[in-house]
Every structure is written in C-alpha cells, then in structure tokens.
Symmetry: C2
C-alpha cells in the first residue's frame, strides 16, 4: 500500500508474464487459503449482511481505464474488499435458492490447469487432444441419453462431418442451437430451393408453403426459448405456451389440439419442446407421450433437460425421463446437477447428421473435412471447459452421481414432509426432482384456505404474496441462508398468481438441521411483519375465512 | 496406481466436496509447478512431436460413463498423459500462428478464485458485486471506444433498463448479438405492428414493405457473420461480400453501389459491418468513410474489432480506427489482444437503449426493473469472466497495454522487413497491426514472379501452394514452432488463390531471434520438398518464368 505507484515499463510488463506470484504475496496467500479451506475462505471474505447494490455500485463507477498499472498485491486487496466481500456465497449449504452448489475440490486446481493451457476448442490446431476429449464427453452424454451400440459410437464419435452434440457456454445457447437445427431442418434444401441457411426464412416459408412456423412448449418453458424464437426470426407470438396440469406438466390434449389447429391453418409445428425439470418447480413433462405427438406431426422433439438431465445418471430415478431416447435433441447443463463450474452446457443430437444443418467452414479455421469442433457450434472460440466435465465424470463416476442425485431427491422429500408438518407453512409444489416450492401461511389461515372459494383465495393472495416477498428479502439480506422466490399459478389456489419460496436441494452439504433452521428463521421474520399480518387478518375476516 | 479401485460411497463423495487436495498429491504437485513456472510445466508436459489425431482419438473412444469413481491422483496421471501431453502449447513464444498468447501470471490464481466463487452473472441474486463490476468493465470499454462524458456514464452505467454492452463467451456471440440488435431495430414496433421480436421476420418485412434485409461486409469478413445471417433468418445469400482493395480494405465505391442497388430493388441494408483487424491479415477498413455511408442509408454500422479493438489502448496507433466512435456497435475480444484467458468477448453499444430491442424478462430471474445482466445478453447463465478483464485493466493499465500493442506492431514490421530481405521468402500482406502473411518462394523464382503475367502466375501458384502447405504442416508436426496458414487472393498475384503463412505477433515473449529461427527452419524444410521443387522448376520453365 505504501509503495510508490507503479510505472508501466517494458521490464515491469515482462515481469508479469514471466515471474510467478510469490507464495507469500497477497494473491499467493489467497490461493493457499482457497486450496486449503474453500469454505473458510468464502465465509471469511464474503460479508454476511447485504450491502445495498447502489452502495456497491459506487465502487464500480469510474469509466476511464486506469492509465498506470497497479501492483498485483494492491489490486488483490481491492478485489477482496470491493468484489469478493460483496459476492454471493453460492457454495454455502444454507443457500438453497440457486441451481449452483458446492463444487468438488479437485475442480479448483483443474480450473487453473485449464487456464494455464488456454486451449481454444474452435479448431484442432489450437486444442489438439482437447478436441477428441470434448467429442468423447459429448459421446458419453449421448450414450447416457440414447444408449446406442458400441458400433454407433465407433463410427460417429470422431467423424469429421458429424457431431453427437455441441458443447456450449450454457443451456440457453444449447436450446437456441437445438431450435436452430430444428428450423433449418424444416426448411431444408429441396429442389431449386437452397435451404433457409442460404436463402433465409421468407424464401423457406414460401417454398414449403407454410404460413408460419410454431414452437410448442408448456407454460413452464424457460425464457431462453422465447429468446430463441426472437433470434431465429420466428417471433415470440409463434411460441405457443400450452397449459399445464396440477403437476406442472404439459396438458397433452391441449398440445394435440394446438398441433391440429396450427396445421389446419397452414402453419407448421417446427418443434415441440418438452421440459425435463422445470426451472421453477422441477417437474418433468411426459416425454414418451410427447414423442408420440411429435411423430404424428413429423416435428422435431427437443427436451430441455438443462436441470433434470443429470437424473439419467441415477438408475433409480431415470425412469422419470422415459422416452427421452426418442427426442431429436436434448439440452443438459453440466454446471447444474453435474457439479462443474459455471460455463458448461451441452446439446446432444440423436442422429449424428443433425448438426449438418448448421454447418460452417472457413479457410483459416474449421476447413472442410477437418475435425474442428467450430463447424457445428453456435459459438466460435471457446475454452476447454469440457475437461471439467470429463474429469468430473471420471472422478465421481456414474455411481457417485447416482448417490448425489438420489440424496438430493430424498432431501427434497424430507423437506416437503417437514414443511407439511408445520402449522404455519405449506408446500405449494411437491418435489419430483430436488426442487420444491412452499410458503409461510399464518396457522389460523392454513386450514381455512384449503376449503376456500376462488373469491376468498383471491381476497387474501396479494397479502400472502407480500408476506412471502418480505420474508424472502429479509432472509436474503441477513445473509445466513437463502431461498429464492418465484410466482406460480397453483392449481389448488384457483390459478391465482402466487408468490412462493423456491428451493433447490442439490448441495450435498445441506443437512436436515439446516433445513429446520431455515424454517425457524422464516417464522421469526414473519412474526415481525406486523402490518402485513394485521392487514391479512382483516382481509381474511372480511372474506369470511376467519 | 496400485490402489484398490475406488468405490462410490456417501463418505468418499463427501470427501471430494470437503477435503482439499493435499499439497503433495499429484494434483497438488501439478498446481505448484503451474504456479512456480508455467512455461516449464508446459514445455515438460506437452510433447513436442505431434501424435496423429487418430491415435489420440483412441484414448478418447469409450462411450460409457465409468461406473465407479476414480481416485483424483490416478485420474490426474491419465489427464497428464492423454490430454495435457497432446494439447497445444498456445503460450509458447515460438507459436506465432494463433491469436492466443502467453498470459500474465496473476490470472492463474484469479482463475481459481473465479471458479471458487462460482458466481452466475445472469442475475444479481447469484453474482451481487460481480454485476456492477461487469457493468463497469463494459463502461470502461465503452469509454475507450466512444469517450462520452462523465455525466453519461454516471447516468447509464448502472441503469437497470439500459446497457452499454453485453459480455459474451466470445466474438462470435458478440457479432451475433450486434446483428440481432440491428435486425430488431430495422423491424421495430410501429403502429399496430408489435415488432419482429413478437411477430417474426415475415410480418416485419411485410409491415415495412422491404423485399429483403441485407448485411454488407468486405470479403474478409469473419465467418461468424455468415452464421449470424443464418441464425437470424436473413439467409447467407443476403450477406453480400464487398470486394477489397490491394490493402485488404473494403472498396468504398463498390459498397456504395451495392447500397444503392439493394435499396433501389426494394431491399433494406440492415447493417454495414466494418472490420477492424481482419482475422487473416489484420487490416482495418476505413471506418470514418463507412460511417458516412451508413448515415446516408440510415443503417446500423457494426465494427468487428474482435482482434483490433485493443489497438484503441495505444495512443500511438488508435488513429488507425478513426471513426469507430460513430459505430452503433463494436465487438472486442478480451481473450485476444487484451491477454485474458479464453471466454471473454464483448459487444459495446453506442447508445444505452440499443439493447432494449433484445430485452427479456422472466419471473424467477431478470425481473423487470432489476439490474440483472441476463435481460440484455444472448446467453443465460454465465461465469464471472469479467473479473479477468477488470483485473487485467487495472494491473496492466492503459499505458501497459499501449506498450504491449506497440511492441507487437513493431515486431511485425521487423519481421516483414526480415522476410523481404531474404532471397527466398516474400511478404504477401504487409502488417498494419501485428499480423502479416508471407510465403517461401525459391530464390530463382522470387524476382521472375514479380514481373510475371497472370497466365504465368496461374501456372505456378498451385505448386507454390503445395510447397507452403508442406512447410507449414512439417513445421507444426515437429513441434518447435508454429505458424498458421490461410488462403488469400492477393492483388499482386492476379487474385489467384494463394496459400500463405499467417503470423500473429502478440506474444510479448517472442524475440527477434525466434523469428529468424522460424525462417531458418522453414527454409530447411523447403529444401527437403524435392518432388514439389522439381515440379515447380519444370512448371516455371514451361511457363517461361525461368
């Protein structure tokens, strides 16, 4: 701190490229702390009580790039105090509102190795062995979903012109890639028409005589699908949300009707998207039945299993996804339930030639006939993240993943029972995977509301929503634990827009005791919401509920 | 190695999440080696002589996910021998064919910190201080390009409904995002028309009465633009390649004519894309003149400065990009000339409301009014890579970057002179940034070809191409040094498709001596190409060149 300000010189620059950080430097000490006890590092450096975002922003408001270099040690102190201190403890077992869990230790040094190697997976020339390694990871995930023969994988896994999938930065890019493939197949080259890739969407629709392309997905579909509909030129009004049943699953009759209507009116169903683990409630669409409908309408079936895909690693629970092997494409995020760091999404293609509809080549990279991965990905230059998945698959193993998945689901069932036992909490959606939603409800209202009329429900829901919001925010700000919140339209509550707590129980370090503590803390916060509770009481009396 | 195979148990799993890797474990030792001497680690573990890709593939051919877990130490040995050994030494100062350079040391521990924190930048809830930090990085890059007032940045940098840019996994996503914005602006909501976002491309064209949308870019444009044209539904035939002049810059007259033609025929120029640093030759389009044309046709001007953008950090050379402050959007890759690891692209928007044309919201994430970054990015969940850029900007500083950029350009000029001095090498494209292309040419042909007729050039070019390919491949396989190759249509050689060596001199550790060695090695390889040289001689005599 008391050092002279640094001066940019050729020598000082040469140093940062050639002289490593000393073990007793600030950064060296941080690294050691990270390596020896990550949880202790995070708990020590991330402050618990939330600082308002606007205050944090003040520390990040300078727009000019600093002229002079800063010493690494000085800069590291700044990073710790300004950035790390006010980041989110995503690895905490008490933070059960995210899809981010604690990570296995060995991935930390591997992350460093990955950056040290700094491969670029766009082409073999800048990644060499990383290319077959990534192809194998995609092949293993393909095998997990489709269980094809050994012959199949020998033939296709390393084929230059084919691809069993695409590694992506995340599930959004994976979903976009899948729908891009679907669109390009529907408007493929035919006769004089050179395909949508060359001629564009308007020419494609004209050639095939379709009035419009439509994507069908349940109302629980991830927002990335809307993004895709926009990006691909389909338009968001052509992504039709199909209603769900009382278990948050797509209504098959409604889906069939919509397929029939769209087709009768001269439109084409470009893709049906099934969800295997909705982001909000973790429910899984009936995939086998979706595959029947997709076959009947000769349409692409995509399964968004960004969250739930890892369930296939559990022999006990994989039947929840029965029929997934009939899907044309499947999205799986390894940075969710496969316990690798952020930045590892995948889309898997049933048949190896599917990706040809989005194939690209250039002279200096991804030349025709090369095995360059860049010819079948939306992204260009990409890091070697597949190594993280490769290592996790080997170090954890299928059986290890099965234990993790099963444990998460068991824990969610335990939590659901625990909540149901309380006088003043209620489960809103039961867990199918390790996700569930619930809310706090004053004891005197819990029973009454079960037998309430739609009008009575309507009368108290806004105040119950305020209460849930208040509890969730207060708990987050205190910083000891965290559940997220979302808005659902529950079947049992006359489809009223209902704010709920959302929990994801994937962190293997979360204990039953922590779950009990979370409810205790929420109850204590609720007791302080005097005004909301008073209004709720008045409103409930007025509505005849009390 | 002699240990019993691991068995997946709850205890063993708990261990990998809670017990750190010991410093004397295989992974611990690797990490120490990486920290103490990265170059030594890479040189020791990456084998120099290339193993054929097919042999490497054999080690990555199993399709089944292993049932049982592997010990981390065993797995690490496998990683070292199968993957690291056959990866590419991208950091080597003798590997001057990639856009990947050596990285400063401090980024290695920071990479570990980033993974340890495992933030998700899609929303504030999972990233907190990382959100304003990323917004500041985008603001700093915005300031670098547009130099707006302090008031401007105070007002917009942290505004919930606005965005000065989008952080992306790389330049391809950045370019796609920019053209997505351009397309959605051209077909924005108007009167009863709800905009392309809602209604799709067909309705948009109909509403505005455009026969087609067109993107104009020089023939040196990056292949990501074709990808974008496909993805956005425009079609690749509607991305029109404009010819370049003898300096690989877009021909302005040809561009103007095409704009006029497209417009006269009822089409709309959706975007003009200027290139600031072509991937193959490093040349920069005349941006100011492009801005004039874009203004005249009221079209979006996007500058693809994925490679060259960092040149703005050099006060000496930033005038090469004069007019860039008139562009509507600019792509800059930090993982190229800003010396951060793979996975850091950015698109910067001139006006803060541009990103609203691609805005998304959902209930459980990126709620309306929140400052969640996910509302203005193509990607969803994303890692905290912006921290790498933030730290590099502070530790290197603007002046440090200026030294690095200037040094690279000086080195390229030195290399161009060195090549020109040789009897048997010739520069094909002169460096404007730190890129240049050249080739080996037998001494007796070098002079003769300068005065040759197009027919004579045509006669020998295929054999010269074979020679260049042979040299480039042999050198790569030997593994001591690496230049890449591409195919150009040089002005001075009657636009014949000419294979050239391509070098990128961004690695600050590359010395003049290494450059001399590379030429020597290439000359020695050429001397062994007996058949090609004999054929070339015969052909040159036949064509009257010798």
């Amino acid at each position: 701190m008391s050092k002279q300000p640094a001066e940019a010189t050729v020598e000082s620059l040469h140093r940062i490229f050639t002289v490593p950080e000393a073990p007793d430097s600030t950064l060296g000490r941080i690294e050691q702390h990270l390596s020896e006890n990550l949880e202790d590092f995070l708990s020590n450096h991330i402050v618990a009580r939330e600082k308002p975002l606007q205050e944090i922003e003040r520390g990040f408001s300078e727009s000019a790039i600093p002229e002079q270099p800063e010493y690494v040690s000085d800069h590291t102190e700044v990073l710790l105090n300004k950035l790390v201190a006010h980041s989110v403890h995503t690895a905490s077992p008490r933070f059960i509102g995210h899809m981010t869990s604690a990570l296995p230790y060995f991935l930390l040094p591997l992350a460093k190795l990955m950056v040290g190697l700094n491969q670029n997976l766009v082409k073999v020339e800048t990644s060499k062995a990383f290319t077959p390694m990534e192809r194998q990871v995609l092949g293993m995930l393909h095998h997990l979903v489709y269980s094809e023969s050994e012959h199949f994988y020998t033939k296709w896994m390393h084929s230059a012109e084919h691809s069993l999938g695409a590694f992506c930065s995340g599930g959004t890019v994976a979903n976009i890639t899948a729908l891009w493939v679907a669109r390009n197949r529907v408007l493929a080259p035919q006769g004089d028409f050179k395909g949508i890739t060359a001629e564009g969407l308007v020419a494609g629709l004209e050639h095939y005589g379709y009035k419009r392309l439509v994507i069908l997905v349940s109302e629980r579909g991830h927002y990335s699908l809307s993004k895709a509909a926009d990006l691909l030129g389909i338009g968001r009004k052509n992504i039709i949300a199909i209603p769900t049943d009382e278990h948050n699953r797509i209504q098959l009759e409604a889906l069939k009707e919509t397929c029939a209507d769209v087709t009768a009116q001269g439109g084409k169903v470009m893709a049906i998207v099934g969800i295997a683990g909705t982001t909000e409630t973790g429910h899984i669409d009936p995939i086998d039945a979706l595959a029947d409908i997709a076959e009947a309408y000769e349409t692409h079936l995509h399964i968004d299993a960004a969250w739930g895909g890892a369930t296939l690693l559990s022999n006990k629970h994989r039947e929840l996804m029965q029929g997934i092997e009939r899907a044309d494409s499947v999205t799986i995020d390894a940075h969710k339930q496969m316990y690798v760091p952020m930045g590892a999404g995948m889309v898997i293609f049933k048949t190896p030639h599917l990706a040809r509809s989005i194939e690209y080549h250039a002279e200096y990279v991804i030349r025709r006939g090369s095995k360059d991965l860049g010819s079948h990905t939306l992204e260009g230059s990409r890091p070697g993240m597949a190594m993280m998945v490769y290592s996790a698959l080997h170090v954890i193993g299928r059986k290890g993943y099965e234990l993790l998945i099963n444990k998460g689901i068991d824990k969610a069932k335990y939590f659901a029972e625990l909540i149901a036992q309380q006088d003043d909490f209620e489960v809103i959606t039961q867990p199918e995977l390790c996700l569930l939603t619930y809310r706090y409800i004053p004891a005197e209202l819990k029973g009454a509301l079960k037998a309430a009329s739609p009008e009575q429900i309507k009368a108290v829901t806004p105040l119950l929503n305020s209460l849930t919001r208040f509890i969730q925010k207060s708990q987050r700000e205190t910083g000891q634990s965290f559940v997220s919140r979302t808005k659902l339209t529950p079947y049992q509550y006359a489809h009223q827009a209902t704010v709920v707590f959302r929990t994801v129980l994937a962190n293997p370090l979360t204990t039953h005791e922590m779950l009990r503590d979370i409810l205790k803390e929420q109850r204590a916060i609720a007791a302080k919401a005097h005004t909301i509770l008073a209004d709720l009481n008045t409103q409930a009396r007025k509505a005849g509920l009390l």
